[in-house]
Symmetry: C2
DNA sequence: AGGAGCATCCAAAGCGCTTTGGGAGGAGGC
DNA sequence: GCCTCCTCCCAAAGCGCTTTGGATGCTCCT
């Protein structure tokens, strides 16, 4: 039987009120008393009973997750990695999850149910699309939320954590152009997703600054799997004017792309340069590629942890976080980028 | 404000006790009264407050999940699919999850923390290995659990849901042998995992019945990704005596294998036969392969739902379930299997 | 000296359920 | 007719926390 507040209070010769206040950081308790309480907590291993806290405070101490079950999203490697970060942080604070598998068309209803159920204090939202309607829905439900990513268009005043996709791909492209590449290809995520739109924008912008244009035949949108990376690259290479450089929206795509390149008898980094976005998947390290991969790097797991931390912080009203965070991926140059052939 | 038990009782002119008992299926309440109560519940939309139930019953109404973060497991497509099934069922019963990301070497400690925390009523266990020590640990912690899969060796009396991997691959192999194949290859999951061991055993057994042996150079163990399927197949095909048929432990592996086959200028189903195990991933349907794939089929999502259902049923002590379930995958013949060339 | 004002603590009332320990009333046995 | 035994229901006591609404001294000011 774990020790409870009452016993702790008796042990200390204090009232439950005071002990509770000491633990929850209320000001009306003497500093010395608070120290005594904290010491006793350490010694007895006291942990407040979450069920009781839930009942007393009306908080659920859990966060809601709409888990997309559309083909190939759940299953997406990237989702698992993000979830790991989210969960890692949540478990530290003894928060629960309510996982709601849902097809994209049911998401709105799912959010409503979730909000109405009172089972969660906050929800998290991802896979943003352009003009994503879900933001307005969540606002109207007045349940706290944090978005992973950003919509394009629509309301701007909502909390998010995102990476600067435009800048990342702008910088990557700039590097390629500086190296003399003129025909660069893009193997991107699905067309309707905001991050993909932004990455493409970054590429276009960089090329434009050099008076170049992005050839639409050199742009593919797909799920981010090995297989699609391979196919896209293969099609690029059989074009009359194949690219001398390619940007991939994930190292997973790059894996397939590299295979296609090798298979065509070309060498990565000399015949063709490649830059991928690295989500820091433990499974797929860019430095372990046969030719180490130049990448724009930003940890997906860290983003998950950060979002959890913000959601939880908001619920416990501890600390204040910036509403909107835009992380800047680092461009890390390895051997997969080199001067354009013939330059 | 949602309606609460007290109001419901007043409305009905009953005591809270009686209403509560009516709802929880206790015998000491008149059938007519129970009907009245249920009707009122329907009309008012009453839903018991989980936090209060938790406190009053001491149950957590949530299930624990140790989420493996080893390279390429979380990220594994198959994990997401399983989780979707688990969550789908859990959400129906208003159960929460406690997701504990954990490296394999920390799993024992994680289970201990989880059990001690009192935050979960039951846990689920997967990725079984031979002589898996985790079963004994969970038993000693005396927390209810259900295993997905089975260990090999060690204690036998624990609850599980598994598929008959040996039989599935035995039958698949038998079909190939009947079709005249003599050299069959196996692209399997990681060597230490129980399901992989069993599948191999099924293959060996079937071959043996025809006086054949499994050539160890035709067996590869790896993570079940596209990439590894491709590589394995490629290596098989460049052998002096390439196989005429290949078994894959997942359609994901088959995807890569098929690519390698095509690339070698061979045709699936005529030059080389292929059978894969189909977990029914929505993303990857065997009938959509360029040559529809013969498979052994068993839905991973259904297994997840079933395990959730058993865990939850056990917690609410509703109904009794068989302790051990061994599902038999169906062998579904499509176009990827044909007679051995030259027969 | 007499309050005002602050710092520090406490008793007790919930939060919304489950469960214990009866109690009333009717049926059945002698 | 009386007692026992069910059947069906209830009042009230928790479950372990948070929070409201004071109390109790003390300091400080005028």
């Amino acid at each position: 039987m774990p020790v409870k507040l009452k016993q702790l209070a008796e042990l200390l010769g204090l009232s439950q009120t005071t002990v509770s206040r000491a633990l929850n950081g209320y000001p009306e308790v003497n500093a010395k008393t608070r120290q005594r309480v904290l010491k006793a907590v350490r010694e007895t291993g006291y942990r407040p009973n979450r069920a009781a806290q839930r009942l007393a405070t009306g908080k659920a101490y859990s966060i809601g997750l709409v888990m997309p079950i559309a083909s190939g999203i759940v299953s997406d490697i990237h989702f698992g990695e993000f979830l790991a970060g989210l969960a890692e942080e949540a478990v530290k604070h003894d928060f629960h999850f309510v996982l709601n598998p849902s097809a994209p068309e049911d998401e709105e209803a799912t959010f409503r149910r979730l909000a109405a159920s009172g089972n969660v204090d906050a929800v998290f939202l991802a896979h943003m699309r352009a003009n994503d309607p879900r933001i307005a829905i969540l606002k109207s439900l007045s349940i706290p939320f944090v978005v992973h990513g950003r919509s394009i268009g629509g309301p701007k005043d909502y909390p998010f954590v995102d990476i600067d996709n435009t800048a990342a791909f702008y910088e990557a492209t700039r590097l390629l152009v500086q190296l003399g590449h003129r025909r660069v290809a893009l193997i991107n995520g699905q067309e309707h997703l905001a991050f993909a739109i932004r990455r493409k924008k970054g590429v276009v912008r960089a090329l434009k600054e050099w008076g170049l244009e992005l050839d639409e035949t050199l742009v593919h949108h797909s799920l981010m799997t090995d297989e699609f990376g391979y196919r896209s690259m293969q099609r690029f290479l059989t074009q009359p004017h194949p690219p001398t450089a390619v940007l991939c929206s994930s190292t997973v795509l790059a894996l397939g792309a590299v295979r296609a390149i090798n298979q065509a008898g070309l060498t990565v980094g000399t015949d063709i340069s490649i830059i991928a976005h690295d989500d820091v998947l433990p499974m797929l390290k860019p430095e372990n590629f046969s030719v180490p991969l130049t990448t724009t790097r930003s940890s997906l797991r860290a983003a998950g942890a950060r979002i959890a931390s913000r959601l939880i912080g908001g619920i416990l009203d501890r600390g204040t976080y910036p509403e909107q965070e835009l992380w800047h991926p680092e461009l890390i140059v390895r051997a997969s980028t080199g001067p354009a052939p013939g330059k």
